[in-house]
């Protein structure tokens, strides 16, 4: 990369080239491809804002429409690979290198293209890791971002889905990069300034509103008795035992079940006010009953959730909101909050091995990491104590160390059913991620959460407390001891598992005083989407595909 392409004169040249397509800063959607052909240089590092949820889809289409003779060799640096266009640009020769975090819906195609060699992946990152590299060695020359509205000066209003925009714009605009924003509408005055206009060089009025994926909506109607049983074990055996007040939840049905039994089973256990009060979490609809029952003190959000806008706006006492009355989310800050200010992460995964390593990569799918490794890791930079953090470390200690020198431990809980859909076992000898890394010649297997960060594995068979394991063999048998009827589970050393249970390393539902037959759907504070709407006082507006009444 020559000096000329990263200095202030490069920015002037790009702005001048784009000015032909613009009226001031404003560019019509029909001119978007011409604009990008004018401002992007071959070999540029480009970020198409593709977040976990909202998508700069109009600009993604515009980039995919560029002439590969003019725009080529791009190095894409973006958190989400979500839209088909994000990968089309590699097939048609516009881009050739990718650094990213998450590729949920495109996971199968990413795996295939990596295999064919049409896509060179620098690395799969966690969100914070990629954001960090934006400021060190992956700074974009051009960022294509997305917002709800803009004024003629380029001030942007992102609405509730602020997500990654401030981070992407900060890295680009203050290092002589060019920022193009697509917006749903140009307005006289934006409801709130999420991005100041002097950081935005062009504004494209999109042909249609940007796409937002409802990723965090779980229909209570689909929560099973097994998930309720696991939720009961989690509340009684982990939340209650450690007094976890500050936490992050994954997005699976297991954690949705926990949210839904806080006002019922949690209340019965007397845990209200003692656990689950401060959250780093998206506005999950399944949290509404707990919020309305007074369980929740505050929630900071990575992004928003489709349909939750009015409800969140009505609860500024709980959520972070702006003067316009809508949610202000911020992925980089919320990831940092989840990493440093939470005492527990609990979430699901697709595969767990005998050391407790986990991965969501399965044969033929590279889904990426997103934020789970940030939430699900023990931050060695943490220096403030809390009861849960200290208790976890105490359990891991053999008692011979100096107590005042004992680093605390974050609770990292994997909540998994022993079999996934189609009887695919969750517990395996070797992660598919390792096989993929071996076959693709990668330097590093895509591991979601390393076993040494995991403190508990919770299945329908019980809780394995890995903090209490003293040897590698104990650890393996603790994992086998909750692996149910999978081959790994059936391969357990029964005598050793019985000993571990004696010591409380493994705890069955009955050891926790939980009758399996009490795990009933009547424990769910909301049993349907409609119940959630009722709890919200009619403010929650579920996306069409979840309206089943």
């Amino acid at each position: 990369m020559s000096e000329g392409e990263t200095g202030p004169e490069a920015l002037s040249a790009r702005r001048q080239a784009g000015a032909a397509m613009a009226d001031g800063k404003i560019v019509a959607a029909t001119e978007a491809t011409a604009l990008l052909e004018a401002v992007i240089r071959p070999g540029d590092r480009v970020c198409i804002e593709g977040d976990n949820q909202k998508q700069a889809d109009c600009l993604a289409r515009a980039l995919a429409g560029c002439d590969p003779a003019r725009v080529n060799g791009l190095h894409m640096v973006q958190s989400g690979v979500v839209l088909p266009e994000h990968l089309d640009i590699f097939e048609i020769g516009i881009a050739d290198r990718l650094d990213y975090s998450y590729s949920g819906p495109q996971g199968a195609r990413v795996a295939r293209m990596m295999g064919e060699g049409s896509l060179t992946v620098g690395a799969v990152h966690t969100y914070l890791e990629l954001f960090a590299r934006y400021f060190v060695d992956l700074t974009p020359q051009v960022a294509l971002v997305v917002a709800v509205s803009a004024d003629r000066d380029g001030n942007l209003y992102t609405g509730p889905n602020t997500e990654d925009t401030p981070t992407v714009v900060e890295a680009t605009a203050f290092k002589n990069g060019l920022v193009v924003a697509q917006v749903n509408e140009i307005v006289e005055k934006v409801p709130r300034v999420d991005i100041p206009g002097d950081r935005v060089h062009f504004v494209v009025e999109a042909d249609k509103p940007f796409y937002v994926e409802p990723l965090f909506t779980r229909d209570p109607g689909a929560v099973t008795e097994t998930q309720i049983l696991m939720a009961m074990m989690a509340l009684k055996g982990i939340y209650g035992e450690y007094g976890v007040t500050r936490l992050n939840h994954g997005i699976g049905f297991g954690t949705a079940a926990i949210e839904l039994i806080l006002p019922t089973y949690g209340e019965r256990l007397g845990l209200k006010g003692k656990v689950a009060s401060h959250w780093a979490l998206n506005p999950h609809p399944s949290l509404i009953p707990a919020v309305e029952s007074g369980w929740v003190s505050q929630v900071h959000c990575f992004g928003s959730e489709v349909g939750m806008e009015a409800y969140v706006g009505a609860r500024p006492d709980i959520f972070f909101t702006g003067p316009d009355g809508s949610l202000r989310s911020n992925r980089a800050f919320c990831q940092t909050a989840g990493l440093y200010a939470c005492d527990m992460f609990i979430g699901s995964t697709l595969q767990v091995d005998l050391q407790g390593n986990s991965s969501t990569v399965t044969t033929g799918r590279v889904a990426g990491f997103g934020g789970a490794p940030n939430m699900g890791s023990d931050p060695h930079g943490r220096r403030h104590p809390s009861p849960a953090w200290l208790k976890a470390a105490e359990e891991a200690s053999d008692g011979t160390d100096e107590r005042l020198m004992r680093r605390g431990r974050k609770l990292v809980v994997q909540i998994v059913e022993t079999f996934a859909e189609g009887m695919a076992p969750t517990f395996v000898e070797e992660l598919d991620a390792v096989r993929l890394a071996r076959n693709a010649g990668l330097d590093l297997a895509p591991v979601m959460i390393y076993g040494d960060d995991v403190t508990h594995i919770l299945t329908e068979e019980g809780i394995a407390n890995l903090l209490l394991c003293r040897t590698a063999q104990e650890r393996e048998q603790a994992i086998r001891g909750v692996a149910g009827y999978t081959e790994i589970g059936r391969g357990r050393d029964r005598a050793m598992v019985a000993q571990l249970r004696e010591r409380g390393v493994i705890r069955r539902p009955e050891d926790l005083g939980i009758d399996v037959l009490d795990a009933d759907r009547s424990l769910l504070a909301a049993r349907s989407m409609k119940d959630l709407v009722h709890w919200s006082g009619g403010l929650y507006d579920p996306p069409a595909r979840f309206r089943n009444w």
């Binding site: 099973t224 008795e225 097994t226 049983l229 059913e417 022993t418 079999f419 859909e421 009887m423 329908e460 068979e461 149910g484 009827y485 059936r490 399996v516 037959l517 795990a519």
Partner: protein, 104 residues
């Protein structure tokens, strides 16, 4: 459709007064369990119809654990499986046993 049969000796008869219990539905990921008190008190027989072949060892392990846990002596159990996972199978069996243990 795969058909599996198991026969177990049990230490005692299943308690309670009901002669028959039926529970669950043959839906995807679920199963239907029928229990009938028609055998000698030290016997339990289980017949399973399942659309998924190749899981004989899993079924054998689930049934053995259930028999050990519930001691369902005197009961013939018919399972119509819809591809349920082992934990769901165990749950339905325990639920059906509890129904049998209720009043007639």
């Amino acid at each position: 459709m795969d058909r599996l049969q198991f026969s177990h000796e049990t230490p005692r008869a299943l308690g309670g007064g009901r002669d028959q219990a039926i529970l669950g539905v043959v839906a995807s990921g679920n199963l239907e369990v029928l229990m009938e008190r028609v055998l000698e008190p030290d016997r339990c027989e289980i017949e399973i119809t399942t659309p998924l072949g190749g899981y004989d060892a899993v079924w054998e392990a689930v049934i053995a654990d259930f028999v050990e846990r519930a001691a369902p002596g005197g009961v013939r159990i018919s399972i119509n499986d819809g591809g349920a996972q082992p934990d769901t199978v165990m749950l339905r069996l325990l639920q059906a046993a509890r129904m049998m243990e209720g009043q007639s």
